[in-house]
Every structure is written in structure tokens, then in C-alpha cells.
């Protein structure tokens, strides 16, 4: 084909840049079984590690006898807290400013807690050895209910903190109290309630659950004694943070630690933290001089490597009779389990829970969060959401429905009445955030029209009458949700992890022939960064995405970044990519000016190169410029064409959306059939619509699971119930509803390409949509708030309590 005759549209299309439904680069290897995940990596002489775990939730350990295990052929070592003590590694600091036992130090505080690490020649022998290790326990009283944790006579769960009246986040009120975090104007809020015409108050609980990616957490540590270097492969959403933590703990200098996160089989927050398995594998490799692999099984994953939610939110709204909100007051009791190892930015013990004012113009608000210890697994990760944002969205979206019910108002109309208006952006919320942009009324109206909202309400009314007449046993619920997220942590002025500011980074290098390698501090776990990051560069630099290779996850080659979670990749790393590309473009412009013998200011950018203003025939493409950068750079200009950017975002981004769920519930079986689910998302500029919609489908499926049954439960003895796929609800293709997706576009004004991030919106907005639908179905029979999860048994129980079963 003659290059000269191709049209502008063809030149543009060839780039496969932003806005293009580009097919994924990753799929080529994944569909052929050629992905490389941690457990696929084998090193010569590799050993396998596995844990002896506590059968009790709370007990003193009287004795550990590993002699039989050590006598088993193929067993290389058994490591307990005693072995870790001389190294100072039996406890480790947590991201939340607490400490956590790596291996139980005389006491276990949750079931399945790590007690000993067995290292053997293969996984089968390690498993045999575990059975041979004898542990003698002395049982202690157990606390599983967070509401009992601060009883005066509650057992002391953390003797190691005895006498400490101050924790990392201020005073502790009780021996099982971790912190109290408050924000907002208390007296103004109290006044609003004192003067309110209408108020509501409800305990809204968000149960404990787990992100449960299909690949569990795993690592492979290999210490080279001669060089004093550690190579650590692992399922790490934040490889650089892991390197820093590993260096601080092990005292191995950071430049001698090579952390590599290969392909990751889903993360959803589960793979942010540092777990005992990583520390023990590193120690075992140092001790044995051989590579040590640790792969947790599903039971271990669900019961030990973190959890999500467990937030109990007493929520009050003050309002006028005609439905204008005048105040919000929320108290949260937060169950953090045995150790406070929540994965939040260091100064935010309750994450960004103060986004709880949601999409509404609350003049005043107050939030208080009390964190407590219980005998449950530690963790507190953001399961596909920015820190505690799902909890906040659930809280406000349920509460708005409860208020609507009390006022006798339609829940969609109540929301419309209280939305922050377009002209109020940038909007200062009562709890301290500056929302960047939004057009909530437009999005809500579009969603209501698309789903036929008024018609659905009319149908529901008719069905309710038919139900009362005994003509049907089905009730219909319409779940309305309008959520605002806060993502893209975050600005160094308020976000850090262990003192490292939460920037992110990109390094772009153009080769002489005009192809590109680019590396980022982010790390995809299925989001498709290799595809979408190239699209941003393609649009910015005019090089086809197919000629751009993206590399992430190797801390030796990638610039330092804080990793991928909290929907921060597009808002932070995505911005770094655009900014690095723009640095290159500036230099390219100088080179083009030199080549074309004009001033830089006489040039303008056009799709894939610079052209002389007013003389569009005189062009230098980026490819030609790249060659010149290495071959004939202008005098005085450094050769080469590459740039690095570390992006410190000026603000968070605030994606939003309107979700509607239509559901029919059979009151005799408790089974809820999802008739329709419509999700409108506004994530600002859309980089790859195909990937966005895929993200929305996946997040909604997780939301469906959480709202409709997924739970990590404990009995009163602290036994974890259902830590297997037999009991832990993961929907199959049969239960999963059909998803309808839609969008509006309100770019972020402070982001270089206007993108806001989308991966987590569907989880954040989806859960309240399902729960509101269940509540909406039963509301006409007199219920005000039904706790999640809404599995068929619990829904059936609601119907029974209402006397619907005759």
C-alpha cells in the first residue's frame, strides 16, 4: 500500500489508541497455556513450604514437638517462632501501624493461624510432616462478636499490647480497642439532628467476606548466599512495596532484592499485603540455601490471607419533611480481627470511609470509627474497591432508601433531589474531600429512561396488590443505587504507605526503529495493562500500540511505583504514562524542528507526527524522529528518546454511576431471580471500552456474590465456617445474571487524559443495588432494613418472620 494516500482516519485507526476496543495482547499467551504464574516457576533444588496451623481461635501454645516430622525422609527444616526470634522476625510490622505474629509466639489468636513452617522436598512430604507435628494447646475464651470486644470483662486478646494506652492512631479506650477515628463537625451535626423534621437511624452491617481470586497467594524465594541477593517471585499487587518491606525486615539491602510479580491470577485486593508465607519462605531459603516455594491452598486463602469488610455502621440521616437531607451521622464498629493489618494508606485507619456522604449535598456530617480486635483472621483488604469505599457506598445507599421509605418518597426522586449539582463541582464535601467532576442528574436520568423506571414502579405496584390478594407468591424489588467512588490514591499530601508517598511511575523508551518499551510501577492482575497502557502511549506519541511493549512487575527494571489496587492504576500510573510520553513529545518536537529547519513553534502535532503549520505536506513522523534521535540529534541536544515520570496526583478521582437491579423473589423458596441489571458508569475518558465493560461484568458478578450469599462466618468458638468453595458462594455461569452496561463521560479535570478508573465501581455500586432490591421487594410488607447477605435461606427466613408462610 502506498503510505502517502492513507487517510487521516486510517492513520488514526492504525494506532489503536485511546477509545479503541483493542483486543488484548495478554490473551495470546493465556489462551495457549503459556501464561507464567508463580506456581509455574521451578528452580533447581526447589523445596516446598507449608504451614502447621492452629485448630483453635484462641489458645496458649504449651509445646510444639517437631521431632517426628524432622525424622521423616525428605523433610529439610521445621521453623517455629523460636527459630525466628534470633533474627527478630517472629513478629512483623503491619501496614496499619500494628504488629503481627509471623509464627505464633506462645499464643494463637485466630483459627488457622500459622504456627510452624515445614520445608520439604515436595508438597506431599511437607503435608505428611504437618500431620506429624504435635502442638499442645491451652484453650482461652474467644471473642467473635465485635460488639462484645469492648465489654469490661472481655478477655485480653493482645497481651503483647498490655499497658499500651496509645496505638498508631491515638488513644485506646479498652484492651481490645485499636483506634478511634473521627472526622466532621460534631456539634453542627448534632444541631442538625436536634432541629430535624425527620430522622432515620439504622444499624447497617456489611458482613465479612473475602476477595478469593482464582489463584491463591503464593511465592518463591531464592537466596544466593555468595552474592547476598534475594530473588522473590510472588503474587504481588504491589511488588515495589514488597521489596521495601522485605528489605526493612530482612536487612538485606534493597538493591540486592529482586522482586518479580509474574502473571497474576486475579487479585481484588487479596494480594496487596505481606503475609507470613512470604517471610517464612525467605527465611527458609536463607537457612537452607535453596529456593523455597510456598503455595497456599484454598482453605488457607479464605481463612488466613486477609478478609474484607466486617463493618457495622450505625447510620443516621436528618432531613426536612419534603426530603432535603440536612445532616449525616455515622458510627462504625470495625472488626479488624486478631491483628490490625488492614491494607490502607498509613494515615487512614478507616480508609476513605469519609466518602460516606456519597453523591449527596449534605451540609454537615460526622463520622466516628472504632476499630476492635477479635479472634478472627486479620487483614482488612479493599476487595475490589478503594479503601473502605464499598462499605461507605453501601451505608449511604441503604440509608437513602430507608429515608425514602420513611418519607413515602420514591428512592430515585429522593436521590435526584439531593444530588450535588453539576455547577457545584469541584465540590467540597462535609467530610473533607474535593470531588473533581460529575453530572449526576444527567447520569441518573439516562439510567431511569433506559430501564423504564416509572413503568417498572407501576408494574411493582400492581404486583404488590396481586400479592395481597393472594394471586401470586412472587414479590418484585427494584434496587436503585447512585454511587460516588474515591479512587486513585493518592496525593502525597495525604497518602503514603509506610512513609512512601503514593505516587506512581512510568518509563518510556523509544528505540531507533520507532518501537517502544515502557515500564510502569503498576501491576496488572487481569486488568489488561499490557493492552491499555500501550493505547495511551499510542495516542500520545503516534506509534501503533502493536509496536509498544509494556512490562510490569520486575522491580529491577520498572520504576518505583505503589502498585495496582484501589483503582489507582489509571488515575496515577495512567497519568504518569501520559506525562512521560509528553516529555518525549517535547523533545521530539525539537528534533522535528531541526529536521524540518523551522522553529518548534511553527510545528503542530497531527496523529503520528509533527507538521509545519500552514504547510501540512512538510511532516516528520514519530518514527522518523526516533531514528533521528539516535542518528542525527540537533546540536547540543542529548541523543536518545526516552523519559521517566513519577506522578504525584493533585487530587483523587471520583468515578460515579447509576445502577438498577430488578428482581423477583419467591417468598416460599426465598429464591431471588435477577430479571435485569443495568449499570451506567462514568469513569471519565474511556481508554478501551471493551476492557471497561469486561471490568464492569466481573465486578458486578462479585457484587452479586457478596450481596446474595458470599460470607466468611465464624461460630461462637471462633471456628471459621465455610472456608472452601463448597460453602463460600462463588456464582457459576448459571446463577450469574445478564449484565446491561451503559455510560456517560465526565472527564476528570485534573488528570492528563481525563480518566478516572473503573475496575472497582461495579463492586462498589453493585452491592447496594442488589441489597436495595431485596429490601425494596419486602418494604411494602413492613420491613425497614434486612441485613446482607441475602441468600435464599435468609430471604426465606424474612418471609417466615413476616408470617407469609401461613
Amino acid at each position: 500500500m502506498n503510505e502517502m494516500v492513507i487517510t487521516r482516519a486510517e492513520r488514526e485507526a492504525r494506532l489503536e489508541g485511546m477509545g479503541c476496543k483493542r483486543k488484548r495482547v495478554e490473551d495470546v499467551r493465556f489462551t495457549q497455556g503459556k501464561g507464567q504464574y508463580v506456581d509455574d516457576i521451578k528452580l533447581p533444588g526447589m523445596l516446598h513450604g507449608d504451614f502447621v496451623r492452629s485448630q483453635y481461635a484462641h489458645a496458649n501454645i504449651k509445646r510444639i514437638d517437631a521431632s517426628k516430622a524432622l525424622a521423616l525422609p525428605g523433610v529439610v527444616a521445621v521453623i517455629t517462632a523460636e527459630e525466628l526470634k534470633p533474627l527478630g522476625l517472629h513478629w512483623m510490622p503491619t501496614l496499619a501501624g500494628d504488629v503481627q505474629a509471623v509464627l505464633a509466639d506462645g499464643r494463637v489468636s485466630f483459627q488457622n493461624q500459622e504456627i510452624a513452617f515445614v520445608v520439604a522436598e515436595n508438597r506431599y512430604i511437607a503435608d505428611d510432616a504437618i500431620q506429624l507435628i504435635e502442638v499442645e494447646y491451652e484453650e482461652l475464651p474467644v471473642i467473635v462478636d465485635p460488639f462484645r470486644a469492648m465489654d469490661p470483662d472481655a478477655p485480653v486478646l493482645r497481651p503483647d499490647l498490655a499497658g499500651k494506652t496509645t496505638g498508631a492512631h491515638g488513644p485506646r479506650k479498652h484492651h481490645n480497642h485499636i483506634f478511634e477515628w473521627t472526622i466532621g463537625d460534631k456539634s453542627a451535626t448534632d444541631d442538625a439532628f436536634a432541629n430535624a423534621e425527620v430522622t432515620i437511624k439504622e444499624l447497617i452491617s456489611y458482613h465479612r467476606t473475602h476477595p478469593s481470586p482464582l489463584e491463591t497467594c503464593q511465592c518463591l524465594a531464592s537466596f544466593d548466599k555468595i552474592k547476598g541477593e534475594l530473588t522473590l517471585y510472588g503474587t504481588f499487587q504491589a511488588p515495589h512495596v514488597i521489596r521495601t518491606v522485605a528489605s526493612l525486615l530482612s536487612k538485606i539491602p534493597e538493591h540486592k532484592i529482586h522482586v518479580i510479580a509474574p502473571d497474576i491470577g486475579g487479585g481484588f485486593g487479596n494480594k496487596v499485603g505481606a503475609y507470613a508465607g512470604y517471610i517464612c519462605s525467605i527465611v527458609a531459603s536463607i537457612v537452607t540455601g535453596l529456593p523455597v516455594k510456598w503455595v497456599e491452598d484454598r482453605m488457607e486463602n479464605l481463612s488466613t490471607t486477609s478478609f474484607a469488610r466486617d463493618y457495622h455502621m450505625t447510620t443516621e440521616i436528618a432531613a426536612t419533611k419534603d426530603g432535603k437531607v440536612t445532616g449525616l451521622r455515622v458510627h462504625v464498629l470495625a472488626d479488624h480481627g486478631a491483628f490490625d493489618s488492614c491494607a490502607d494508606p498509613s494515615k487512614w485507619p478507616a480508609g476513605f470511609m469519609n466518602i460516606v456522604t456519597g453523591s449527596y449535598d449534605f451540609p454537615v456530617a460526622h463520622l466516628a470509627v472504632d476499630g476492635v480486635y477479635t479472634n478472627k483472621a486479620p487483614g482488612g483488604v479493599a476487595y475490589r474497591c478503594s479503601f473502605r469505599v464499598t462499605e461507605a457506598a453501601y451505608c449511604i445507599e441503604r440509608a437513602m432508601d430507608i429515608l425514602a421509605q420513611k418519607l413515602g418518597m420514591d428512592p430515585a426522586d429522593l436521590r435526584m433531589k439531593n444530588f450535588i449539582r453539576r455547577e457545584q463541582f469541584p465540590y467540597q464535601s462535609a467530610l473533607g474531600w474535593e470531588y473533581d467532576s460529575g453530572d449526576y442528574h444527567l447520569a441518573m436520568q439516562k439510567a431511569m429512561d433506559a430501564i423504564g423506571y416509572r413503568e417498572l414502579r407501576a408494574e411493582q405496584k400492581a404486583k404488590q396488590e396481586a400479592f395481597r390478594r393472594g394471586e401470586t407468591r412472587e414479590i418484585m424489588g427494584i434496587g436503585v443505587t447512585f454511587f460516588t467512588e474515591i479512587v486513585g490514591a493518592g496525593p502525597s499530601k495525604n497518602c503514603d504507605i509506610l512513609g512512601v508517598a503514593m505516587f506512581d511511575s512510568a518509563e518510556i523508551r523509544i528505540h531507533p526503529t520507532g518501537s517502544i518499551i515502557a515500564r510502569m510501577g503498576s501491576k496488572s492482575q487481569g486488568q489488561g495493562h499490557e493492552t491499555t497502557w500501550a493505547q495511551i502511549i499510542a495516542t500520545e506519541l503516534g506509534i501503533p500500540a502493536d509496536d509498544i511493549m509494556i512490562e510490569e512487575g520486575n522491580t529491577d527494571t520498572a520504576p518505583y511505583g505503589l502498585g495496582t489496587y484501589g483503582s489507582r492504576s489509571t488515575p496515577v500510573a495512567g497519568a504518569a504514562i501520559a506525562m512521560a510520553a509528553r516529555k518525549i513529545k517535547n523533545k521530539a518536537q525539537m528534533i522535528a524542528a531541526h529536521l524540518l529547519e523551522v522553529s518548534e513553534y511553527d510545528l503542530e502535532w497531527d496523529i503520528d507526527g509533527f507538521r509545519v503549520k500552514g504547510n501540512p505536506e512538510r511532516v516528520k513522523t514519530m518514527k522518523e524522529i526516533a531514528w533521528a534521535a539516535y542518528n542525527s540529534p540537533p546540536p547540543g541536544l542529548e541523543p536518545g528518546l526516552e523519559a521517566v515520570n513519577y506522578y504525584d496526583p493533585p487530587n483523587m478521582t471520583y468515578p460515579f454511576g447509576a445502577y438498577f437491579c430488578v428482581m423477583d423473589i419467591d417468598v416460599d423458596t426465598g429464591v431471588a431471580k435477577i430479571r435485569r441489571f443495568y449499570a451506567l458508569d462514568d469513569c471519565g475518558t474511556r481508554i478501551n471500552p471493551m476492557i471497561i465493560e469486561g471490568q464492569v461484568h466481573g465486578g458486578l458478578t462479585e457484587a452479586f456474590a457478596i450481596a446474595m450469599g458470599q460470607e466468611i462466618k465464624y461460630d461462637e468458638m471462633g471456628n471459621v465456617q465455610g472456608a472452601s468453595f463448597m460453602d463460600f458462594f462463588l456464582p457459576t455461569a448459571v446463577e450469574t445474571p445478564h449484565w446491561e452496561t451503559d455510560f456517560t463521560v465526565t472527564p476528570s479535570p485534573h488528570h492528563p487524559i481525563g480518566a478516572k478508573g473503573v475496575g472497582e465501581s461495579p463492586n462498589v455500586g453493585g452491592v447496594p443495588a442488589f441489597s436495595n432490591a431485596v429490601n425494596d421487594a419486602f418494604g411494602f410488607l413492613g420491613t425497614t432494613h434486612i441485613q446482607m447477605p441475602h441468600d435464599a435461606w435468609r430471604v426465606w427466613e424474612v418471609a417466615r418472620r413476616l408470617g407469609l408462610h401461613g
Binding site: 483486543k23 493465556f30 503459556k34 502473571d263 487481569g526 469486561g694 466481573g698 472452601s724 455461569a733 452496561t741
Partner: protein
């Protein structure tokens, strides 16, 4: 080394004859991944729930974490590494999964593909409902299944000589 006796197994894997000595308790998935270095099939649960380890054995879908290697003695096993066409081109399913965005992290994908292959051999033109039911033994945490269904429909159309009209959502 362990003192457990090993016994011989002989089977065909992706068209090649394989002979090894294994412990009787070795699971087929470990045999494939660790002995034969076929790491396409994955382990998501080891309890027969997730389907990430699905392979084809003598024309049937099998969760290879549910079977001992010795039970596959004499059998013909196909893993995702053996899915591509004989001429090296990708199978219609591999193409369909990419075209319809039927995967994200890729961890469930080898199992999904192998399950879908047997599904299409038993039912060459399944409805959406039949596909959803047919892959219900395979969990995916990322995609919400909608585009997996389309990927399988794409492949079915292609194998039946039709062009699939819909786009990935």
C-alpha cells in the same frame, strides 16, 4: 527422598506417548504440571470445585485434581497446550476467547477452553442456556461469564461455518 514406592504409568498426552514412575498418590494435575511441565492447567482449589485444572481425557472433561496420575494409565489426555489445530493455527475457541474478551487474568482460561471443547463436541450448536449450564463446573472470578458465553458462541459459529455477528461487550 520419600520411601513411598513408585509405580509405572504410561499414557498419551497431547498426542505424545509418556512413560513415568509415580507415587500412587500423585494427583494427575501435579503430574501434568510438575512432571511434564505442562503448566497450562491450573490449581484453584484442589477440591473439584473450580475447574481450573480441567483437561480432556478420552473425550470427556475431567478435573485433573480429582484423579490420580495412575488412574490415567493407558488414557489419552489433552491439555490446553494441545488445543491448537494440527497446522499450528489457533483453535476456534482460542480465537473466540480473544475476540470476545472471554478472559481477564487468564487463570481459569485453560480449564474453560478445555471444558468448552468437549461441550462443543457433544453439542455443536448450544444455546446460551446450554453453554451456561455446560460450563457451570468452571469458575471464573474475573469476567462474569457473559463474554465467555459469547466466546463459545463465536467458536461454535466458526466451527459450523458461520460468522458470529455480535461484538464483545
Amino acid at each position: 527422598m520419600s520411601e513411598i514406592d513408585t509405580i509405572p504409568v504410561s499414557l498419551t498426552v497431547n498426542g505424545r506417548k509418556v512413560q513415568r514412575f509415580v507415587e500412587p498418590r500423585t494427583l494427575l494435575i501435579h503430574f501434568l504440571r510438575e512432571e511434564l511441565n505442562l503448566t497450562g492447567a491450573h490449581i484453584g482449589c484442589e477440591t473439584s470445585h473450580c475447574g481450573a485444572c480441567t483437561v480432556e481425557i478420552d473425550g470427556a472433561s475431567v478435573k485433573s485434581c480429582t484423579m490420580f496420575a495412575v488412574q490415567a494409565n493407558g488414557a489419552s489426555v489433552t491439555t490446553v497446550e494441545g488445543l491448537a489445530n494440527a497446522d499450528g493455527t489457533l483453535h476456534a475457541l482460542q480465537e473466540g476467547f480473544r475476540q470476545m474478551h472471554g478472559l481477564q487474568c487468564g487463570f481459569c482460561t485453560p480449564g474453560m477452553l478445555m471444558r468448552a471443547k468437549v461441550l462443543l463436541s457433544e453439542n455443536p450448536d448450544p444455546t446460551e442456556e446450554e453453554i451456561r449450564f455446560g460450563i457451570a463446573g468452571n469458575l471464573c472470578r474475573c469476567t462474569g461469564y457473559q463474554n465467555i458465553v459469547k466466546a463459545i458462541q463465536y467458536a461454535a459459529a466458526k466451527l459450523n461455518g458461520r460468522t458470529y455477528q455480535e461484538a464483545a461487550e
